[in-house]
């Protein structure tokens, strides 16, 4: 097969990715196997959401519905939300507490415990000698499909892969350090927002790793004369390229971070002025000067601290052009009411209505719409080089972390893309 007839995506590189990856159903299906069910740990939720035994939360790994639970002995478990009998959804709620530890499929009342083990089957022996299952029927062989579960710093992850190294190794020392930074003390959930984008999940994964767009797409700060050119910033990338953490700190010195008006760069001074600056007020609460921490953990979660907002953003791919973003907002467990109100005010900045970032949802959809029918054509990801470096500082004039994402992605998907290409499917 020569280059002209070769059906594309297999030739992708971290600097030039075939647009087919956003549109091909075959690639989407292969991603479920090679990425979400492959050699990765996927975010399932926060330990704080499972504070008590019996607590559960419905979640996803890729497009597979999964339930994460805390069993009566305090251990955390995760299983595919699909009854071993007929495949029906077992747990129909988003979250809750199953005090008796039993999850019962409504269809035929097969009952499972919080670990996913089948513990009850109605009329297993039939009724008055009629019907029922054979003597060979073994409940232990009909449990729910379970995931391996591990936690780090308050985050719960699961994997379908039996051989992958422990979560700590998957995250690596740099990512662990920054997760611990945000989860420095116990957290409490403040709420959720769910955002549905008509775009591919990888467009959002790129977006959260793209430092180049920050000051160009998001114009809230410059509009209000808040452009902090003198800030210190860095983008760190894990070994395989999978994960990234961006940090922006106030400059060393005497700038008053509490007053953005004073800090604004005069050359960039916008004509508008904020009427209520409490919106932006930042109260450093971690022993450093970092006001922005955006950490993208491959393949499906972003951990953030922006001003005093704390959140995870879980990426759920429902289809080639259907991506759900689940925002879980939290504070620290010891926050008083006034601190919580301050976080709620800061939350105006982020999320689906975020004044400094709502544009991300639009950018994802624009790229999806713009690449329709563009299979065989490629993106151009060479800002700041054509390699993947472990560190890029200052960041903003580069796409180092985006290349990192593609390096990790293509490492997991390379063979699958080649196979699909050989079959002429993608």
């Amino acid at each position: 097969m020569n280059a002209e007839t070769m059906p594309v995506a297999a030739g992708s590189e971290p600097t030039a990715v075939d647009y087919a990856v956003y549109h091909s159903q075959a690639i989407f299906t292969a991603e479920q196997e090679n990425i979400f069910r492959g050699q990765t740990w996927c975010y399932l939720g926060l330990e704080a959401e499972l504070a008590n035994s019996g607590d559960f939360r419905s979640t996803h790994v890729g497009n597979t519905p999964v339930v994460v639970t805390r069993a009566t002995d305090g251990t955390i478990h995760a299983w595919v939300n699909r009854c071993a009998h007929k495949g029906a959804t077992v747990c129909r709620s988003l979250r809750g507490n199953q005090a008796d530890g039993a999850f019962v499929c409504v269809y035929h009342q097969w009952a499972y415990d919080a670990t996913g083990a089948l513990v009850g089957v109605p009329f297993r022996r039939g009724l008055k000698g009629v019907g029922g299952y054979s003597k060979e029927f073994n409940m232990a062989e009909h449990s729910l499909e379970r995931l391996r579960v591990e936690t780090f710093g308050g985050l719960v992850f699961g994997t379908f892969n039996p051989t992958i190294a422990p979560l700590d190794d998957f995250l690596g020392p740099v990512m662990r350090k920054y997760i611990q930074r945000v989860f420095q003390r116990p957290v409490k959930v403040l709420g959720y927002a769910r955002q549905f984008m008509a775009g591919n999940w990888k467009l959002y994964s790129e977006n959260s790793r793209d430092s180049y767009h920050g000051g160009l797409l998001h114009l809230f700060y410059p509009t209000f004369g808040i452009y902090r050119q003198s800030q210190e910033s860095a983008g760190l990338v894990s070994d395989e390229g999978y994960h990234t953490v961006f940090t922006v700190s106030k400059p060393k010195g005497d700038v008053d971070y509490g007053s953005f008006g004073d800090e604004a760069n005069r050359e960039m001074q916008g004509e508008a002025k904020l009427q209520d600056e409490r919106l932006l007020a930042f109260r450093p609460e971690i022993a450093d000067d970092v006001g922005l921490h955006i950490q993208s953990i491959f393949p499906s979660v972003v951990v953030q601290q922006i001003q005093n907002t704390l959140a995870t953003r879980q990426i759920v791919p429902h289809g080639t052009d259907k991506t759900e973003l689940v925002w879980t907002y939290f504070g620290y467990a010891d926050d008083d009411d006034e601190t919580t109100r301050h976080r709620l005010r800061n939350l105006n900045l982020v999320g689906p209505s975020g004044l400094i970032s709502m544009e991300d949802g639009e950018a994802v959809e624009l790229c999806q719409q713009g690449t329709i029918g563009a299979e065989g054509k490629r993106s151009f990801v060479e800002m700041g080089g054509d390699d993947v470096r472990p560190s890029y500082a200052p960041m903003g004039m580069d796409e180092n972390s985006v290349r990192g994402f593609w390096k990790g992605y293509l490492g997991l998907m390379g063979n699958a893309l080649a196979d699909l290409a050989a079959e002429g499917r993608a």
């Binding site: 959930v189 927002a193 998001h218 209000f224 508008a272 709620l344 709502m358």
Partner: protein
């Protein structure tokens, strides 16, 4: 009939008129007028029903001053990028839920339809307003409006107020 009940009766038509005008103000893109529908010391929130039902406070918009409402409008006009769209509010008759002095609490169901450049009109956001109105001085203004949305899945993003 108690005094509070009498106030509530008088308030019914005033609040229904207010809500109709509120919806048209937003849908006609008169966003700069929107903050004037609130008292200075106001609270405006747009919050998911799943949070309210679970006692969780996080809202996608949380403005606890009129200035913060105005800031959001300036941001929408000058800074934010979002799909071009028209919104259309349908607001049901208010149910008065209480009264204290010159203030009346009420709830009303709403639906916001959204039409984007592809021309299709979609149900964008459905929910209810939980409000406190200030009726002093012969005018109706919002002391607080909490938009509790059932439509947990926000399509793309939520830029213009509900």
């Amino acid at each position: 009939m108690s005094v509070a009940a009498e106030v509530a009766q008088v308030a019914q038509s005033a609040i229904d008129d207010f809500n109709a005008a509120y919806g048209l103000c937003l849908d006609d893109d008169r966003l700069e007028q929107w903050p004037t529908l609130f008292v200075d010391d106001c609270l405006y929130q747009v919050i998911a029903r799943e949070n309210v039902d679970n006692g969780l406070p996080a809202a996608v918009m949380y403005c606890d001053s009129k200035g913060m409402l105005a800031d959001r409008v300036v941001a929408l006009r000058k800074a934010n990028v979002f799909p071009e769209h028209f919104n259309r509010h349908l607001i049901g008759r208010a149910v008065i839920t209480g009264a204290e002095g010159n203030q009346v609490s009420a709830e009303a169901s709403y639906v916001v339809f959204q039409t984007r450049n592809d021309g299709e009109t979609r149900i964008y956001n459905a929910g209810k307003y939980v409000d406190w109105f200030d009726l002093s001085g012969g005018t109706v203004r919002l002391k607080s409006r909490t938009c509790i949305y059932d439509t947990l899945r926000i399509a793309t993003l939520l830029a213009t107020p509900i």
